[in-house]
């Protein structure tokens, strides 16, 4: 199966690969995996406690090109967004942007899961209720 140019670009030049201090209160870590294909994806965000803006995002993914591209794109997209805005990112947006074929849609689902897991971890650390709407202080 041919990968789209965008997937190949993210695969060859992945953005924001790396890790941040898991124990920091400002950092949320999401570790997700797909038992079906054996992929595993770690996505981390660093949130400004004042503005709730995601100032930094890092990822490390072991998996196919589409999984790497999906998580690379996810880190690009969450950066600069507030936590609430980042939760709006849908896997279908990733599918569209990367032109993923149907058999690779689960890679984008994994990336969305990773964003949610990272934000969930950050919320837990900072005692933000899962259900409460995160008000944006910057406005």
């Amino acid at each position: 199966m041919a990968y789209s140019d965008k997937v190949i670009d993210h695969y060859n030049n992945p953005r924001n690969v790396g890790q941040m201090d898991k124990s920091s209160d400002e950092v949320g870590t999401g570790l997700v995996g797909a038992p079906e294909c054996g992929d595993v994806m770690r996505l981390q965000i660093r949130v400004n406690p004042e503005t709730q803006v995601i100032e930094e995002a890092k990822f490390k993914t072991f998996g196919c090109g589409s999984a790497i591209a999906s998580s690379s794109l996810a880190t690009e997209w969450v950066k600069g967004k507030t936590v609430a805005e980042a939760l709006e990112i849908k896997n279908t947006d990733i599918v569209k942007e990367l032109a993923l074929p149907p058999v690779k849609i689960h890679c984008s689902v994994l990336a969305e899961d990773a964003i949610r897991a990272a934000i969930g971890d950050w919320k837990k650390k900072n005692n933000v209720a899962e259900t409460a709407e995160v008000a944006v202080a910057a406005h």
Partner: protein, 242 residues
């Protein structure tokens, strides 16, 4: 989940109208090949697995039945039969081969049964059903992630023309540990399969459903481990060559 599943009663032979015992692919009375459409793998070997989706299988009996049916259904035997029967014998032989290859292996057999029972198993279902998604346990994910990091380090070392004997032996130990865990998982699968069969015998559909769910979880973990073992062994073998 449906209640206890028994496959539909074998119909009658299209040629002599005798009831089809044994395999629905072949009439025991007149030896005519039967159409294969709509017959599942368990039904093909109905005389061995008892016309019921059972997981505890006598593989020696399965093999004997496979050889017997292979001979009886072989397209050569139908060279002078009608075009329809020739076609059926080809289809029956193909189905027989697939059924045998699937049922003789514990893991394939279990996966096949769970698919028949409506469980979404395997890569083709990955992420398709968002509500029924099964995230692997966190400790397994951590372990998988760490291991992948080590594997990457070993590959990088190798690219630089170095090798790290400590890392190599650590990964060898990991590989062995995973192999033994795989063996344990297979034993578990046998046990759960027996629970499934017992549920069937007792008409206990809840017991069956529980066993099926357990087996699906075991198969997930198994798939992860199998991929890891493969990756580790691959990395170890190329590392040795350096």
């Amino acid at each position: 989940m449906t209640s206890v599943v028994t496959t539909s009663a074998p119909a009658a032979c299209w040629a002599c109208r005798a009831a089809l015992g044994g395999s629905p692919l072949l009439c025991a009375a007149c030896g005519k090949v039967q159409p294969a459409a709509g017959i599942d793998y368990f039904q093909v070997f109905g005389s061995v697995v008892g016309f019921e989706r059972r997981l505890t299988i006598d593989t020696a009996a399965l093999e004997r039945e496979f050889h017997r049916l292979s001979r009886r259904l072989h397209p050569d035997r139908f060279a002078r039969a009608t075009a329809q029967e020739q076609e059926w014998s080809l289809a029956a032989t193909a189905l027989l081969n697939d059924a045998y290859r699937t049922l003789r292996e514990l893991v394939q057999r279990t996966e096949y049964l769970l698919k028949l029972e409506g469980f979404e198993i395997g890569e083709e279902f990955a992420g398709k059903n968002k509500t029924a998604k099964r995230q692997p346990p966190a400790d397994l994910l951590e372990e998988v992630f760490e291991l992948n990091m080590q594997l990457e380090e070993m590959r990088m070392n190798r690219k630089m023309g170095e090798s790290d004997p400590a890392l190599h032996s650590e990964l060898t130990a990991v590989s062995l540990r995973f192999e033994s865990e795989l063996a344990k998982l297979d034993n578990n699968l046998v046990e759960k399969g027996a629970a499934w069969d017992a549920g069937a015998a007792a008409g206990d559909s809840a017991g069956r459903a529980t066993a099926a769910k357990d087996m699906a979880a075991q198969l997930d973990r198994r798939r992860y481990l199998r991929n890891l073992v493969r990756d580790v062994n691959e990395a170890l073998s190329t590392d040795k060559e350096s």
